[in-house]
Amino acid sequence: MIPAEFEYYRPKDMAGVLSLLEEHGDDARVMAGGHSLIPMMKLRMADVPHLIDLQDVGGLSNIEINSDSIHIGALVTQSDIVEHAGLADVAPILREAALQIADPQVRYMGTIGGNVANGDPGNDMPGLMQCLDAVFTVAGADGERQIPARDFYEAAYMTAREDDEVLTSVTIAHPQGGYAYEKQKRKIGDYATAAAAVQITKEGGTCVSASIAMTNLSDTPVYSEAAGAALVGTSLNDAALSAAIAAMWGDIDPTEDNRGPIAFKNHVAGVILRRALERAWSRA
């Protein structure tokens, strides 16, 4: 099936984008890499009479590393993240995760903004951003506002961003300690059966902080505060790992599909989280 005909716009600045969004309301959508949106339009899962391409809007493609924070423009692609040397030094988990998304062709086009704004529970970046406690900046007719990643996701394809707002950047504090992005997928280019993003800090042999988020195990990414809390003050011994996994299980809500039945998904989530924690701990 061929996508229904649509109007295509390519404004040069954010003001142009916002005025088109205002003019066409629900009928308009922004497009970044198009690698989620175009397949959806093709399947007529998304009906988009007015498509606003963000590619020409300046100022959205930078990666800035400040003394205590990282600022990533919405149009930064997954391959930009993979190739940026400085980023891998301050936040290596970003590269580790980006490399597990799809294949080079997709990574070259897919953007961080599109990945986090899309709202598809299968996307890898949202869980990662929750783990890193990222803050999204969105711009609208009334100016900018900040939305924490942990408050952003409401349901599948439903986010705290209003239809007439554009996500312009992602801000992350320099992550501390050990990290791991562990993803179970069925083949190259597959979305996760389960994935876990973990950042963990330790002092002596004791865990000081742990941040854990899970992907594709609910209709939104799942930041499991309880799982992190179960680890603080422990040496990540087996009992602590089991407690964290049990806490994570309390927060996820997988459904049965081609990737397997619910019990299996819970099981995989547990295995993946355990592996992520062990790897992150060894790096902490």
């Binding site: 093709k42 062709q105 295995v271």
Partner: protein, 903 residues
Amino acid sequence: MVSFTVNGVSQDVDVPLGRRLSHVLREELNLRGTKVGCDSGDCGACTVLVDGDAICACLTPVAQVAGRAVETVEGLAKTGPTALQKAFLRHGATQCGICTPGMVMAAEALLRCNTKPDRAAVETALGGVLCRCTGYTKIIDAVLDAAGRGTGPEPSAGCAVGARVERLDGAAKVMGNEAFGADVVEKSALIIRAVRSPYAAASFAFGNLEQWAEARGVRVFTAKDIPGINCFGVIERFADQPALAETNARMAGEAVALVAGSEDVMAALSFEDFPVIWTVKDPHLSLKDAAASGAAVLHKSRGDNQLIAGVVKRGDVKVALAEAAHVVEGSLRTGHVEHAYIEPEAGLAWMEGDVLNIRACTQAPVLDRDSTAKVLGLPVERVRIRPAATGGGFGAKLDLSVQPLLGLVTLLTGQPSKMVFTRSESMVASTKRHPAQMHAQVGADVDGQLVGMVFDGDFDTGAYASWGPTVAVRVPVHASGPYVVPNYSAEARAIHTNGPVSGAFRGFGVPQAAALQEQLFDQLADQIGMDRLAFRQKNALRDGVTTVCGQALSGVGIGACLQALQSRWDAALISVAGFNASTEGKARGVGVASCWYGCGNTALPNPSTMRIGISAEGTICLHQGAMDIGQGANTVIAQLAADALGVPVHQIKLIDADTAVTPDCGKTSASRQTVVSGKAAVLAATALRAKILQMANMGSEAEISLSGGVLTLIEGVARRDISLRQLPQAAYGYVLWAEETYDPPTEVLDENGQGAPYAVYGYGAQLAEVEVDLALGTVKVLKVTAAHDLGKVINPLLAEGQIEGGIAQGLGMALMEEFHPGKTENLHDYLIPTIGDVPEVVSHLIEVPDPEGPMGAKGLGEHVLIPTAPAILNAIRHATGAVLTQLPARPDRVLAAIQAAMS
């Protein structure tokens, strides 16, 4: 207007800015080297470079490349293949060629920034491009050797057979000039789209079609418009499938109407308000539903929804099993498997005088002609099938797809018409591998000698017969495997459901049966306490011993194949034990399985005819009507013909399949083309040689050479020069020619399936080494060692390619492939092996000559897939104890089986 450069030339195109780049390149700029396999970012066939980076052109709106530099496959080879493209040819990295432009472009992007990539880098760079034919091994080899030089051998007269000759038809594939079904251009063609049933079972009635069509400026065609008999089938006796359903849809995706119109109108047309009213019925979606007592029947003449049953019986199996020292039994269920060739069905039709011409991808041109003529009520002379290059088939392009639909529209409008299936349409409308529910029991005596086997299987043939009868007949003949089983009883039934039509898919049901039989053999060997390979060797068929059909064979190579695996088997058992002793959380295992497979139709006539001629100008033409769908018939058959005639293979010009110019070579199915058409080619070339020798009055050892229109014969000191221009025209534009037909000798099977179903069999065995993640249930196949008896290896390069490709498909069937109508009609929900999934493959090519095959050769194409799945399953069980009762062995099933084995 968008401006950018393509291959260094600036282009201004005036199209809607949101048009995909793939569409603009192909349709506006006529650069059809960029292929479209899925239109969704899943297959990578559309990979092009934008400012040097590889991207999917099908997901890129053309406006995004404004001002940028686009490079396509056409831009690489300005004066001939580049070093990279030559490496693809040298290594046999292209088979059907539909993935090749995408592969080449992805590799090009890599090599520009990394001139010496390692294997891992190649796998990463090509990870987004799918290939269904090659199993990726030769593609990786080609990219790693892109800096290498040279071309394959160009053997001298008489030396073609056995040489690693590059594909004779390969250059167009690597350079992107090959014209597949969707690449045939005719701007004036009406575009056809089908209205398909969304329901698995429904009756329907149309509203006011005329009004709907008129309002949109299109034409609508339904079953009422079909001038001939609206019923086709690959086996005439079982023909039951309408080109367009009349009042009843028996499966989801069945075409009920066609809409044809100009390209612009059709692109924007929505079928949402198409005037059809459905009355939905309760479908039979499983074998159980269809067989339930009182279940509605799909076809009136087939009560109980049973299409056919095939039986083979020998000896007294009841007594044998009752008296056996060891007996094992088990069941296996398999699902629908999709062929997933990267080229969706496509083609073009046009009239030439009163002859309907159709150019579409296919595996069976003559069958297409006859069935299309029947549906359209035309004499066969008025239909000409001129196949397009076929981007993979594996069995599903044996059945009609676009042909009768194109024919209908063109015949009724007089206008050219074009139809290109979308990926999901291809997956919903094409045939599948038969899902099977099988049970078997096998017994052996105390010494490990097989004494008897019972096999019983139901095969879900879906809504229409297609190749169901072939599966039902082939399975009982082959379910013993290549072993001596003195007492045997096997029955296979083809059952109709409202599922997708199950048809031919590499092995016709034999891979499913082998997956059960070979697992049971492992269990039996373990019970007896015998080494699993030794158990197979002890029971392997040998020359002169009778098969389960009572046929005494000669040239049986299974023993030699198993022998060839012995050293790796011994080494692998030791290395696996070492790994398992020192590793936690993972377990490795080794498995082996065998195959045998009869080449050609089962106990039915199966002829091929080849013509070879020499023109007055001195060109040798081989009318090679055996469709090359990537497997290599064009090259292999030419090699055979060249050696039989006594000329260098590169001097032979191939005349491609075309029902008006090539004699009937039958279907590219049942691994028959090398054996049957190959033998016809040998006979024709031998006859031509005899004519030449006779004309020159020379003995049989004379050497023939051809240069500048002069045929020279030399025998010892004697020499004769024949000026071809001085010879009278004989026929078909040749001064010298011969045509021969070969039909392999077979015998009809009696009511117990006893007889000689095939003239030639091929044999093989594979050894799989796997690693299982015990916590996740994931299986990684590390290495497959394959030994296949080809009788005579005509082209080792192509034979290895068949083996590697078959193993990749077998791996998919074993571990990941599972088609669910309505849920997996795309290439991201339906998983096929990627470059990252395939193991290292080591091939041993065994030559135990067959007395009947051409120069001793046997078939190979389907054999190669049969042992893979059972070898993997046996390796999983060896590693973990897990016995799989359902395929594919998805991680959740493996995990459940591991847990069951532990408790």
